[in-house]
Amino acid sequence: MMSNAQIEIQLIASLVAIACAIPGTFLVLRKMAMISDAISHSILPGIVVGFFITQDLNSPLLILLAALTGIITVVLVEYIQKTGLVKEDTAIGLVFPILFSIGVIMIAKNANDVHLDIDAVLLGELAFTPFDRFIVSGVDVGPKSLWVIGVILLITIALLVAFFKELKVSTFDAGLAASLGFSPAVIHYGLMTVSSITTVGAFDAVGAILVVALMISPAATAYLLTNNLKRMLVLAICFGVFSAISGYWLAHFLDASIAGSITTMLGLLFLAVYLFAPSKGVIAVIYREKQQRTEVSLLTFLLHLKNHTEERERHVNHLNEHINWQKVRSKTVLDLALKNNMIQFEKNIVSLTEKGDAFTSKAIDYIITNEDAQIEDMKDDFFLFRG
């Protein structure tokens, strides 16, 4: 039987996962994934200053102040990049460690006043979140973190629904978006603001660095499975929630950090999809590359047959040495040609069938008109079996 605290922890973790997956999807698509890493580090000074003022890690003022530091990071990176002195990635790599160092030093210098643990900021402690209750006029309405991340999630979803079209267009075609009258700057900074606020809202639960994992990896995993934005969002959310809950139980059994376990689950999920995704997974890619190599060999072979009418050139023994393939390879190619009824044997003399001849002629046409890409589509019409 799950205790109340356990249910609350899983609920908070799931909400954080959803709140991160939504901006994360757009960050991945816009090639700005590393910005989320930068933000997650550089909010530290903002958190420290906010903590000085409010003395409460869950205060909305602190969240806004820290989110502002996130925006400042983005602006700073863009400014440095615009000077042309260094490239964008160097700019990111310079800004966030320096801001983070300032935060660490601020904490160290005021250790007596700030009861803020850098470890906790970076790594979070989900296990403690149910103990900090939100009490409204004497009534306990749940953990504070739940409310914080719940509000952030609601705002994120509202913004997503309201600006879905704008986000979509500007993500895939910034030029079109600008010509349609959506300011790219507004959308860009809007997305940055949401990412910053989400990062700050979530760091208390899962820690700053692991927010990055929750933003990037569900989206990246989903991106390997689909090219459809809506489906990608849904998949990313599902992966995030699945990792959050399974990660919680992994941590429970190992007696280890919940945030670390959630990330590990995200990692395993990504690894599985990375290897086994139907069309974009590594195995599928390697298989397809091999298939294409065989099919290119087959085409070379058929072209050779078509070019030579004399029997001597088409004798099985001669072919082996002429095209200079190894035994196994020639056998694969020959088998494929036979299976597809492209060639026939007559006393060890190979010749094209009618179908093989049609295929080869068409392929030649495409090759001499520089439309090699068309051959790929043609294969569907001719091949019964692929390489």
Partner: protein, 375 residues
């Protein structure tokens, strides 16, 4: 303890000498290799590698149960290399972009490392404390053997760098050309990446996982501003890195409650800031000065051209005109007028100006040729 006292202590106090030497060597080697990372547009790779090294440290500890820093660093090296090559394979085999691949490996490896670290902390093994020094680094834990290791790695690194200098350089600037020349680009590439990983791993104990990337980038980014030559840049970056290490250690040990890592990073950041602003050829300050100067020259030319067009309509080019007619003209100020007088292009008489022979000649040729002496 103040700074002067500190510098006296450096030569007498064993711990302080060790730390100072260690951070200086570390700064030098990371600066050196960081130059390549920056120029290869792999700046964030350092961040990813340093995070990816964490699980290696934890696993090395789990396997050996010893806190020997060399063994742990070996684990970090393996895990860092694994992360690096996974990043490459993601970029090569899937349509995920490099930023996504970096962020993924960085956060996933780090998260897994955290899982292992917290798991280790719960183990009934009194020896486990201190592994988290790799998170933020603790220069104070450096001992002489660590410094020796750093020195040896730096030496090897320097040797390889000199040996393959030509290859590294050509790969940096034109990878395709390198390939056509018959160099084994893959080998050179792996060599330099391995050394970058090695430098990062060396720094983990001192600066920590989180801040290591700045150690790699900042000296190189600062050095880049002062020169266009690779050799000079690598040399400068090493110097900047070493000084960041020394100054950072000095500042942090002269104050209470200051860990060395963040201070070194901030000192390196100051180097970057100064370079960004004051570098003579690329710096923002001189760029701004050049910009203002150019604008002034342009305004001067515009005023002169305006005068020329007025003078053109008269038979006598030195016919005096009132200053008033210049008032509506954008480029005109009292200063520019005075400047023209100083150059003997214009003479002033009371409230009237007139173009001199020389001024007329210059103005008529203003847009035909470059007038160097006008600046």
């Amino acid at each position: 303890m103040d700074i002067t006292e500190y510098f006296n202590l450096v030569f007498t106090d064993y711990t302080l000498r060790t730390i100072t030497l260690g951070t200086a060597i570390l700064g030098a080697v990371t600066g050196m290799l960081g130059s390549f990372a920056v120029l290869r547009k792999q700046s964030l790779l350092g961040d990813a590698i340093s995070h990816a090294a964490l699980p290696g440290i934890a696993i090395a500890f789990l396997i050996t149960g010893a806190k020997d820093s060399n063994v742990l660093l070996l684990g970090a090296l393996v895990s860092g290399l694994l992360g690096t090559f996974w990043i490459r394979s993601i970029i090569k085999k899937t349509h995920l972009k490099s930023d996504t691949a970096l962020g993924l490996i960085l956060s996933l490896f780090f998260g897994f490392g955290m899982l292992l670290l917290t798991f280790i902390q719960k183990q009934p093994n009194a020896n486990q404390a201190g592994l988290d020094k790799y998170l933020f680094g603790q220069a104070a834990t450096l001992v002489e053997s660590d410094v020796w290791l750093m020195a040896i790695v730096t030496g090897v690194c320097l040797f390889v760098l000199l040996l393959f200098w030509k290859e590294f350089k050509i790969l940096l600037f034109d990878a395709d050309y390198t390939k056509t020349l018959g160099f084994n680009t893959k080998f050179i590439d792996i060599l330099i990446t391995t050394f970058i990983v090695l430098a990062i791993v060396l720094g983990l104990q001192t600066v920590g996982v989180v801040l290591m990337s700045a150690m790699l980038l900042a000296p190189a980014a600062a050095a880049r501003q002062w020169t266009n030559s690779l050799g000079l840049m690598v040399f400068l970056a090493a110097i900047f890195g070493a000084f960041s290490g020394v100054f950072g250690t000095a500042i942090s040990s002269s104050q209470n409650n200051l860990s060395t890592g963040p201070v070194i990073v901030i000192v390196a950041g100051v180097f970057v800031l100064v370079s960004f602003i004051f570098s003579p050829s690329r710096g923002l300050l001189f760029k701004q000065i050049r910009f203002i100067k150019n604008r002034r020259d342009l305004e001067l030319h515009k005023t002169l051209a305006f005068m020329f067009h007025i003078a053109e309509t008269h038979d006598n080019i030195s016919h005096p005109h009132t200053i008033k007619i210049l008032n509506n003209f954008q480029g005109y100020t009292k200063g520019t007028l005075q400047k023209l007088v100083d150059k003997h292009y214009v003479t002033l008489k009371g409230k009237k100006w007139s173009l001199t022979e020389e001024g007329y000649k210059t103005a008529s040729n203003l847009y035909n040729q470059q007038n160097d002496n006008d600046e």
